[in-house]
């Protein structure tokens, strides 16, 4: 589904990632572990085209996507959930979902609005609330729902449990398992193996921009 090989990337003159190679097969939940500043977010951004790779290959369903624009990559069915949520605070919940909406795909699970609200019941009570007046956990749910509205085949999830109350972390784990059941491939960046251990099929560990041998 998603294959990365020989990926180098960085910001300006500072190289952050060195020769990253990883793979996520269809329907898998794959963890990307690493401490603060290890390069997890940068890996996901480089896959998504938000940080242009210096060299290396990224393939999505066999198609090269490195060097493509983020919107083209998203249109191929790869969703992205950023680490700091980045929901549109001036827009309502319903409008946030509308921005993420893409046409249905034959070969990916479809997420109608009812479907999304069933997965995140908290959102259904606040469709007209503006994104800026939600709690952190609600924002995180909206952020995932917004990406799912694009009916992706696979998603990149950047630290979905960060800064959330234990109860909400619990819910988050449930959501990821639900995604797996629906057949969405997930690449999940996290700091601790405690969370990923419960949801991931297998994992990679990053240290200072390099993958540790498995």
């Amino acid at each position: 589904m998603l294959e990365v090989s020989g990926l180098n990337a960085g910001y300006g003159r500072a190289q952050v990632l060195f020769d990253i190679a990883l793979e996520a097969r269809r329907g898998e939940v794959v963890a990307l572990l690493g401490r603060n500043g290890a390069g997890k977010s940068t890996t996901l951004k480089a896959i998504m085209g938000l940080v242009p790779p210096l060299s290396g290959e990224v393939r999505f369903e066999g198609t090269r996507i490195d060097g493509r624009e983020p919107h083209e990559i998203a249109r191929l069915g790869l969703g992205y959930v950023p680490e700091d949520r980045r929901i549109f605070t001036d827009l309502t919940v319903a409008e946030n979902l509308a921005v993420g909406r893409q046409p249905a795909r034959a070969d990916a699970p479809q997420w109608s609005t009812e479907h999304l609200l069933a997965l995140f019941p908290a959102l259904s009570r606040m469709l007209d609330r503006s994104g800026g007046r939600m709690s952190g956990g609600e924002q995180q749910m909206l952020c995932i729902a917004r990406t799912l509205a694009g009916n992706p085949k696979a998603i990149l999830l950047d630290e979905p449990s960060e800064g959330l109350a234990p109860l909400v972390v619990e819910q988050m784990a449930g959501v990821i398992l639900e995604l797996k059941r629906a057949g969405v491939t997930v690449l999940l960046a996290e700091q601790s193996a405690r969370f990923t251990g419960r949801v991931a099929d297998r994992g990679y560990t990053l240290e200072k921009g390099e993958l540790l041998p498995a």
Partner: protein, 607 residues
Amino acid sequence: MSGSAVLLQFLNGLSGASALFLVAAGLSLIFGVTRIVNFAHGSLYMLGMYLAVWLSARIGFWASVPLAAALVAAGGAAVEMLLLRRIYKAPELFQLLATFAVVLLVKDLALWAWGPEDTLGPRAPGFAGAVEIAGRAFPQYDLLLIGLGPLVFLLLYLLLTKTRWGILVRAATQDREMVGALGVNQKLLFTAVFMLGAGLAGLGGALVIPREPASLEIDLAVVSDAFVVVVVGGLGSIPGAFLAALLIGEIKAFCIGLGYSKITLAVEFIVMAVVLVLRPWGLLGRPQAAMRGPAALEAPLDPPSGRAVAALLALFAGLAAIPAFTTGYTLVLLTDVLVFALFAASLHFMMGPGGMASFGHAAYFGLGAYGAGVLLLRLAAPMELALALAPLFALAGALVFGWFCVRLSGVYLAMLTLAFAQIAWSIAFQWDAVTGGSNGLIGVWPAAWLASKTAFYYAALLVCAAALALLWRLVFSPFGYALRASRDSALRAEAIGIPVRAVQWAAFCVAGLFAGLAGALFAFSKGSISPETLSVPRSVEGLVMVLLGGVQTLTGPVWGAALFTWLEDSVSRGFEYWRAAIGGVILLLVLAFPRGVAGFVRERIAR
């Protein structure tokens, strides 16, 4: 004022506000989504006026209005696709420079197509008469305009809140990178927004032709009005623009109605200054989110190497030898280059190391020039004393204006500097007794021993070289380091005990002082001073010089000033379309070196 007069002024204000809102709404939309401060927005409005006048002679007024708006929209789309699309990743100020080049090109396009004379449009058929309101005649057409403003506001509001496209626009205003990562093609969105904004400007222009003649001077006048409205309302906020247009339209109308015509030229800028100080993000604006994406970190500036210093000394010696070879026009031109090099370097001091871009640096140049003139002519000071004291006038201005400006940052700071420059200009333009009003001051000649071209050239060379050396020395003094620390991270600088605002205020004052010195030299080299000395185009010229040379270099502004002054001199002599020529050169430079000329050279060397 009687009750009916008040009502009439009120209505006048409303109709003025409508046209203002159309332009400002477009400008605000464009800024919100693309983050480009579109200097050419007034030019699009002007184009709308000329096109409507020209078309209405052929197809009638009512058909010409939508057609002119559509043509301007198409022109806007072309500008976005051919030019702006290539430079979205370039530094903010570079984009500004590109849109300023468009201003120059459009102005000469209009000059070529429709000539230099103001052209009056037809009256609107069906709305040519007047109606009686409270016993006074009021033009029917103005009533129509009063209705049109809110109508367009309503349509825009519906577009932005009820359509998916509008929701995307609002989302992109907040975080365009995220919108892209969700699968939205930003290029198409940007082009469409630019087209809509341009169309609104064109519509605004076309609609005012029954009231005002189309003229070549309208572009910068309108764009500075629109800037004020957008900044007062809050960048990117359409309701804010509507509110601000009403506020400013009314205030202007009442100033005229009450006979305070003198203050009218500056009143909107005074309103803007007050609003920005009380509500730094405008009436309905929000603090600008930090830009997303890889941060543009400035490489640290190294002190000039021994070799660079030697090269500068050699250059100085070379310049000192020039009068041995020529005493003609070259000396006059070189004197200009020296003066503008100092002017550009002073602007660079606050923009580069200080990180504070100014759109109104000419104010301090002009204060220095007028200071010299006033000391010499009104207070009968000797020339040498006048030259020495004149920069203090600029310093005084910088002390006052700077105190307000350093409370803001980014585009808001730049706009406030523009506001202050405009206030200074309108004072110079109207205070006949002191500044000579629109005629300016004449007879500002240097003392007898400096009267020859050669002598004055030497004086300018010495003063400018000493001032530049001092300015550059300051960049590498503890003050300069504190200034750069404040630019790179205000929070961390505070934390290690740097009084950030005080440091920035001091830098503002230094920049003003040296600009004033340049202005005083300029006054004596020309023998006269006109209000143009502190007008918006002069401020923009300074920006162009700094950007041409490179913001994050030390000597760049000097080369930029030399290049620009030489270019302007050589094309403006005998070539009618010199503005277009300069605009074309700027565009070529911007497109060829999207990271600045100096950045390009540095990258080449680094490779």
